[in-house]
Symmetry: C3
Subunit: 165 residues, 3 copies
């Protein structure tokens, strides 16, 4: 099953996802898509790390996420779809290839519990930058596919969940 959790930046998505995961009886694996390119990103990753239970094993996989998921069982907290899609875009995959990978990820989730954290990036002014526009289109489509495949879906606002599904 898939639990889909979205929201803006600093809306409490990761904390909500971690609380959801912590309530399950199966062991939890944290599947991280972030790459520490610079100090700001390193700090964000470190903050996330200290926020979650120390006994959860962490697997870092920026690109081949469906393959990584295939080898995991139990509860997997994937944080986050939005960074993964950004990584694939920066790795020069085209839109069709990226969305096929999203579908491959979702198809993997049948026999496990996949908690999927994503991001809302499409509710501001249209960006000047063509790559940013392409990213928000792609992420929007990816989010729609993930939410459609999910059994439960939540929008986080100021730390509070709105149930979407």
């Amino acid at each position: 099953m898939i639990v889909y959790i979205t929201g803006g930046a600093r809306s409490g998505k990761s904390r909500f996802a971690e609380a959801w995961a912590a309530k399950q009886s199966a062991p939890v694996t944290y599947l991280a898509t972030a790459q520490a390119f610079d100090d700001e990103m390193r700090e964000r990753i470190e903050r996330h790390r200290t926020d979650r239970p120390a006994h959860w094993p962490t697997l870092e996989e920026p690109l081949n996420v469906p393959q990584a998921l295939a080898e995991l069982n139990g509860v997997i907290l994937l944080d986050c779809l939005s960074l993964w899609i950004s990584n694939l875009l920066l790795a020069d995959l085209d839109d069709t290839a990226i969305l096929e990978r999203v579908d491959a990820l979702l198809a993997q989730a049948n026999s496990k519990t996949l908690i999927l954290v994503s991001n809302e990036v499409g509710s501001g002014i249209v960006p000047d930058n063509a790559l940013a526009r392409r990213y928000r289109d792609l992420l929007g489509w990816g989010n729609q596919r993930a939410a459609a495949a999910a059994s439960e879906a939540y929008l986080l606002v100021s730390g509070l969940p709105l149930r979407l599904k």
Copy 2:
């Protein structure tokens, strides 16, 4: 009656609006406000066109939307309020004139079913650009008027609807 549908970019607004329209017994007219200024816009328009039923007649009207609506009957899917307001802004109308046109549009909807698609653009960082700030103010006011006049209102998030009204 008015059905108001809003959400961020690629949140599934048009698809939800089309599904809503397709369930009505009256014939559906698609009233498009987009103008194909460049290849990216042409591609977006084309994608929307292939997504909707081929037998719905399409009327393209970037500016005089209340007049266009006056001549239509049955179910009209207007996609979208946000582009129309952008077109009026770029046509150099002032704020008062633009909001008067929005009111004129809403007043037309009494004897028909108007499905009104709009966009959320006000949940990002305040834009540097003064025209972008003016646009998000105007669209916010227009959206409030449309939602107030609507019998049903929905926020789309990752393809899933949250009922506002």
Copy 3:
């Protein structure tokens, strides 16, 4: 008690907050955090002023908001948390000091009715600007604390409230 009201720009937050305040039997004080640096801001402040009941006393305090609140009783409409946090950031306080002030404000609210208006700024594309990223992080954390402390919480969308809590 705290009533927390958030939403994007021009989503009807202030109007909803004013209507909520107007229904209370206790007298209402308007606590404004805006500073009129330029004509655009002066115009926004003036528009808010003409929108609310003329008999509500207004206190303007851009920085020392917890101290201002300490001296007030009854119903206090604080508009808005987002501008206050922006003012503190521009006054060169560090993140820890800013969030401590937010906590000090929330701790003040026990014996009064504090209506707290804030803003969603984290649902657009990640800003290029490091200060804007720091601001949206800080406001996100501040919003989470305020919403957690609130008895009632609302997200405004196109003038319509979604109850969060």
